[in-house]
Symmetry: C2
Subunit: 353 residues, 2 copies
């Protein structure tokens, strides 16, 4: 069994750069803003500039939904999968879920005071960013296990939901759920309007993403595939059964784990897949390897002004594992995956712009 | 990690009684007959006799779908889960999938001739039913692993599909897929017509059931939760990726594994659940423990004439683990699960009657 952190693909450098900009642990309260709606004009993708990326999406939908087309796909088989971090919302400077785990440390220590003077909890509690930046992967593993397991499923859902309603991204001072990409929300809706079942297939925690997926993306919990830990069935004092989250990895939903997870949870090969990093490589390969019309698309973060620019494909150093490498870029070209340039293909990035 | 056979709940006695009635390995060819449709009259459950079981179903649907009802459930949350073996189709004298595995042995040995003289394969090939009946659980485990893993997902699907189109049940001389319970097919359709998402939650193999679930039950592969093995992503000579079925258990979807599997694969607690054996106990408990209107129902096999009568609740000896025990019957009464008597509640059992 592999352990959680391996799949979170966090390098110490990423943590270092993150901690410098993290907000204080306690976040101000505010409510989730309502989701921006794309205009229901004739154009289903109004936030996209005309170009090969937009064209690839609309052509794919037309070809697979027109009964007269040789590439027609029956409605029941229309499956589309989306990576989350960096594909549907901002992943920089660090995955939102890792921020959540760090934020949960005080509450965990309150319940288990013996951890107060134990590393790495002592360091996280100190608030000393320089010391936190030096935490090892092993330390982060301890933090993830301590904050993502040991509670009931109901308790976890309530905690994560509450956090998502208040925690903000330091750069924009906005809720993380506002930092979804408006052009991708339009793709989700466009595909669903054409009878596609849309799934999130994320390296992030399945239970975490399920807490907000319906509200934020219109994707129900049962259509979220992610890295998943086990649960344990037990009984309370009142004889009522409940499930407890266990520190045991069932599905490492990244890299080859993505097509494996798709087989486990969906059982069909997707017709369309969207990603943005080497962690999505196998999902994109697996999707286009199917018969008939298949669409694999990959988001290139090349817009430092409106969002971020990172990865060797931008001539920038690789700041973390799992980014858009030159090798991935080359494979995209070779295998006819369509690259989405945030800078050139997206009229706007966020709904609030 | 537990191994496959533990969850198949097969006792040697069950195997013994089965082998006596098994058809020859090679089955005559025929096509899957079209599914009988329930009449779309005013009565959504025409194969049910009036009584508390039918009443429980219709009351539940009315209460949870009427917006004026205090027990109204939003459409997006309407989840119903069904055990398969003994709940949706015949499980006697032995699980269909085990018959499949025994039937696959000659093909496996053809590819690996070294197994020919190795036990338990030698015994299965001999066709000596008396010797086969003496196979141990460990032997059966070897057969299940050999016949359910090692091939690509595509190969497995093709093999299982072909078998399902030809193999017949010895008692009725009909395809196994014809031995679905007509009253339960009506319940599935009735729930779906009322915006419920219907899931199979089976102790049987997830990949096996997914092969025919859409055709037989109208349930798509992604709504089948079952005992699942891992897969491994790899590349062929042409650089095309494929998934290979591994002899590794990921989800043991029986007993406590059912609510755990429901959490993993669906992420929501069902509003309605249907089962027939101790393997369904935790799923039924978990379902009714939720807030609001919840329905847990359990099929009692008390009709030896039209189907089978078995289990202590019928005053009969327990011929296998996982049957309808007296303790389960008592819990059903205590927890307000509704017992479905095949003999009294069902006008007819099969569509072909």
């Amino acid at each position: 069994m592999k352990s959680y952190p391996q799949r979170f693909n966090i390098s110490r450098r990423a943590v270092l750069s993150t901690l410098a900009v993290l907000p204080a642990l306690a976040s101000p309260f505010s409510l989730i803003s309502s989701q921006a709606q794309s205009t229901r004009s004739g154009d289903p993708l109004p936030s996209w500039n005309d170009g090969p990326a937009k064209q690839a999406i609309t052509t794919f939908v037309k070809e697979t939904t027109d009964q007269a087309s040789p590439k027609f796909v029956p409605a029941a088989e229309r499956i589309a999968t989306f990576d989350q971090d960096g594909t549907l919302w901002v992943e920089h400077p660090i995955y939102t879920q890792v921020v959540y785990c760090l934020d949960r440390v005080p509450a965990v220590v309150e319940k288990k005071p013996e951890l107060k003077s134990v590393q790495p909890f002592k360091t996280v509690l100190s608030g000393n960013r320089e010391a936190m930046a030096k935490l090892s992967i092993r330390d982060l593993e301890k933090i993830l296990f301590a904050t993502l397991s040991g509670m009931t499923v109901t308790e976890f859902n309530a905690e994560a939901k509450k956090w998502m309603e208040t925690a903000k991204h330091p750069r924009w001072d906005r809720l993380y759920t506002e930092l979804t990409y408006q052009p991708m929300l339009e793709v989700l809706r466009y595909l669903r309007d054409n009878a596609y079942k849309t799934y999130i297939v994320t390296g992030g925690g399945q239970d975490f993403v399920r807490v907000y997926s319906e509200k934020v993306y219109g994707i129900p919990p049962e259509q979220v595939v992610g890295t998943a830990g086990g649960t344990k069935y037990g009984y309370g004092k009142d004889d009522k059964p409940f499930l407890t989250k266990e520190p045991k990895l069932l599905l490492n939903d990244d890299n080859a784990g993505k097509p494996e997870g798709i087989h486990l949870m969906i059982g069909r090969r997707p017709y369309a897949a969207f990603g943005n990093s080497t962690g999505d490589r196998q999902m994109l390969e697996y999707t286009v390897a199917g018969d008939g019309a298949r669409l694999s698309m990959i988001v290139l973060h090349d817009d430092a002004q409106r969002e971020y620019a990172y990865g060797p494909a931008n001539g920038l150093p690789d700041t973390k594992v799992g980014t858009f490498t030159q090798a991935l870029y080359d494979e995209a070209k070779q295998k006819s995956w369509t690259v989405i340039s945030m800078k050139n293909d997206w009229k706007r990035i966020f709904a609030f712009e």
